[in-house]
């Protein structure tokens, strides 16, 4: 599944980034890389960006960007 369709509050593992070039590189620099554990924290109103917990920090991503991040449920630490 992709990140845009995930409900807030569950740990997720990044399986694949389907973004390419600059966008993918930016995501990686900010901690969204293959294997990273992330969590959707909330969504902005009216279909705005999603807030994503990555490592100790928070990122805002548009639903469009989030659709290019493929994740799976992550259980345990």
């Amino acid at each position: 599944m992709d990140l845009a369709s995930c409900r807030p509050g569950r740990p997720l593992r990044v399986v694949e980034l389907t973004a390419d070039g600059r966008e993918r590189r930016r995501l990686t620099e900010l901690g969204v890389h293959r294997g990273a554990v992330v969590e959707v924290v909330r969504r902005a109103p009216f279909g705005g960006p999603i807030a994503l917990r990555v490592g100790g920090g928070l990122l805002a991503l548009r639903p469009g960007n989030a659709r290019r991040v493929i994740v799976e449920e992550h259980d345990g630490g």
Binding site: R25, L27, E29, H33, R42, A44, P49, A51, L59
Partner: protein, 762 residues
Amino acid sequence: MADVCHEPGPSGRGHRPEARRVALAGNPNVGKSSLFNRLTGSHQHVGNWPGKTVERHWGTCRAGAVPLTLVDLPGTYSLASSSPEEVVAEQVLCSDDVDAVAVVLDSTNLERNLYLAAQVAELGRPLVLVLNMTDVAEADGFRIDGAALGEAFSAPVVRTTGRSGAGVDELIAVLGVLGRTEPEGPTVGPDTRAPGTPLSIDYGEPLESEIAALEDRLARLLPTHHAAPRWLAVQLLEADPVTIDDVMNVEGGAAVVADAARAAQRVLDATGEEPALLVADRRFAWANGLARASVERRTTLRSRTERLDDVLTNRWLGLPIFLALMWLVFGLVTHVAGPFVDWIDGVVNGPVAALAEAGLAAVGLGGTWFEALVVDGVIGGVGSVLVFVPVLAVLYLALGVLEDSGYMARAAFLLDRVMRPIGLTGKSFLPLLLGFGCNVPGVYATRVLDRRRDRIITALLVPFVSCAARLPVYVLLAAVFFPGSQGTVVFSLYVASIVATLLIGGLLDRFVLRGERTDSFILELPPYRRPSAAVLWAYVAQRVRSFLARAGTVIFACALAVWFLLAIPVGGDGSFGQTDMDDSLFAATAEVVAPVLAPAGLDSWQVAGTFVSGFVAKEVMVSTMEQAYGGEATDTEVEEEPAPVDELVDSGEGLLEAIADAARAVPGIVGLDVGGADADEDVDIAAAMRADLEATSDGHATAAAVAFLALVLLYVPCMATVAAIRHELGGRWAAISIVLNLTVAWLVAVALFQVGSTVGTG
């Protein structure tokens, strides 16, 4: 080699130990500025990087006997040259201008911060890791194994809290000796590779063999380059523009660059991935591994930031809170700054002018044109500049708090959806918001945007944002034509400004650089922090100073120029400095422009003249109007003349009163009710203006006043804003900006007047 730093630091102090030059690198939002403030105190300077629009902060301090020069690099997530900030950071780190680097890390988000730290360590300059914000990290239950970090980087590790200053002395001591092989010996020259082994990350095959091949050639080609050959090889494979420039600049470099491009293609063919992405993945894996080994989080308690976000970015509460905060900012600006504005105005035009008059009378120049020049031209001009200092200071303070606290990024998060339809991101909201203070910083703030297209569209939109300098014009016009509802008029104009910005944004999105449209938006939401008073003070002082510097030249010169235009007679029987305004050169000049405004019901030289001077700076529009409409009144004005000294005493009491008024205004802020108090002193001007607009509009003065307000809102931004756009985007876009604003303003004003005069009562 990029030569980006020209200030040698504190020079010429005999032959004391050579200054150590240290660059402060780090991600955005890691508390680097407050740390820099702690380190340098008042010994800091702000400028721009030569040829760049990125701000450059540098300062000095001492580590015992060793003078230190600190350069605060712009915050970046990497050294990939994909933004002007990253280019500057990379150029400085590779240059002769620094001896060592301090990488500042946010202790609460170490994994991501270690990515940049790794890149800097691979570059190979002497390094210290600064674990900053340790207070927040401890409160949030993080425990960081500094020894493990130090070992992985072969670098000293210092823990600091920029805000309280904890650990700063230790950091200074480390900086004093950082990268020194022989403390007493000669300083390290540019041809000696700095001591310490560069960090080496295993990038795996096929990258490693390509790196090895390039590395050897680069070592021979660039023996004096400050970056490790391995780092240069990796950067070349990533097609990093700064490194490519550096290598191209030496003989035989072009061949290596071409070979690196072929190597990158081979890697892409073999793995299906670009080298830049492979490198980023591996480097992140390294940083991730190290973070896991050295960070322990002992609590599952939610952090303060998360709890605050629950409220501030809440689905339902977020936008209302944002609007309330904006309301508060404008309330602060109008109500709290207002009394100080009145006070400055009173002092400059009261006791100061009176003292000057008394002084000139004493030397026999009373009543001459020279007195008029000094009192009306010079002192009046200075006054029209100073009057804005309190407004801008309060505004910049408010914006500084929003930015420094971390809230500005939340505003971008909440408002991204609003900006998306016009092809921009929530990030563009920041420059536009700054534009409400002054368009100039708004235009310069567009450099935080990642894409050139966003920068262009946003910079073209900023002039449609109603800057603070337009506010006094609204207030004056509203007081004259819409007495009793000034608050509503001013608020409507701000709403109109936002609507115009969005509409024109949609238009630009359809026509400007269509090929570069994209829907990507990724932004860090930094942890909330209490804003640092030192950082805020530096920010406000620097902005106000730069305003004064600009005002000192442009605005003052314009006020004076207007005075001269008004003083030079071209008809009638007046002499220099004693002419009626309608016989002056100013009126003659404005008369030529005025017919353009006829369809908007404003064919009057006073109105045209106001707009002519408003192009030089919006700040002088009010003073021009006052001179244009108030001139006759001034001549006949009967001056009661109290002794200047008494007036100074009065003005001292006036300051206290202004402070008291400002304090009293705080609870009433929510009622946004601007002006009102000064209506009585402008009675003559008001009558003259009303009479003028009645005449030019065939009795539809209200419709003409609405058109007037629309023109003030929409027409060409001031010269300084045009200069800023030219600086950021080049002359072509500056010209486009001017044409765009003139066209839109004229069309809207004419439409409003035509509709208003047909439908309305006038």
